[in-house]
Amino acid sequence: MTTLYFILVGVLMGNIAVGLIRILRGPTAADRMLAAELFGTVTVAIILLLAIVMEKPVYYDVALVFALLSALAVVAFVTRGWPNPEPGEQDDGRR
C-alpha cells in the first residue's frame, strides 16, 4: 500500500517538474503564475498523500493552511505583481 502511494507522490513530483518547463518557456508572466498555482495545488496533494502514508492527521492542517495561502499568492500576483508592460510593448509573448 505505501509503495503505491509513493509511486503516486513520485508522479505528482513529475507534475512539478513539468510545471518548471512552463516557467522557463512561459511567454507571459501569467503563464509563470499559473505554474506557481499548479505548484501550490500539487503541494497540497503531496502533503495529503504523505499524511495518509505517515498516518499523521496533523498534516491535514498544514494542507489547510496551504490551501488558504495559495489564494493569497494569486491575488497578490494579479493586483501587485503582474509587470504591466510599457505602453508600446505588447505582453503577449511575441518578443
Partner: protein, 102 residues
C-alpha cells in the same frame, strides 16, 4: 490488511493523480493562456478533490473528513477566483486568444 476503505482510498488517489496528470499536460501543451487556465483550474482541482475524498475515506473520523472537504472547497474557491482574475486582466492587457491559422 487491505480493508474496503483502503482500497477505495487507493483507487480515488490513483484517479486523482491521473486528473492531475491531465491538467499539467494541458498546462504544457495548450497554445495560449486562456486554454491553459481551463486545464489547470478544472483538471487539477478535480484531481485534488479525489485525493481529498480518498484521504477522507481512509481517515475514518468525520471531523477529518469535514476538514478535508474544507481544504478542497478553499482550493476550489482560490482557483476559480484566480482563474477569472488572470483571464480578465490578461484580456484587458490585450493578450489575444490563440486562433488556428488556416
Amino acid at each position: 490488511m487491505m480493508g474496503a476503505a483502503d482500497i477505495a482510498g487507493a483507487v480515488l488517489a490513483v484517479a486523482g493523480v491521473l486528473f492531475f496528470l491531465a491538467g499539467t499536460l494541458g498546462l504544457l501543451r495548450f497554445p495560449d493562456i486562456y486554454t491553459r487556465i481551463h486545464a489547470l483550474t478544472k483538471a487539477d482541482n478535480l484531481g485534488l478533490g479525489l485525493i481529498c475524498l480518498g484521504a477522507a475515506v481512509q481517515s475514518g473520523s468525520l471531523m477529518t473528513a469535514l476538514k478535508l472537504l474544507l481544504v478542497w472547497i478553499l482550493v476550489l474557491l482560490a482557483a476559480a477566483t484566480g482563474a477569472s482574475l488572470i483571464a480578465q486582466t490578461a484580456h484587458r492587457r490585450g493578450i489575444r486568444p490563440w486562433a488556428r491559422q488556416e
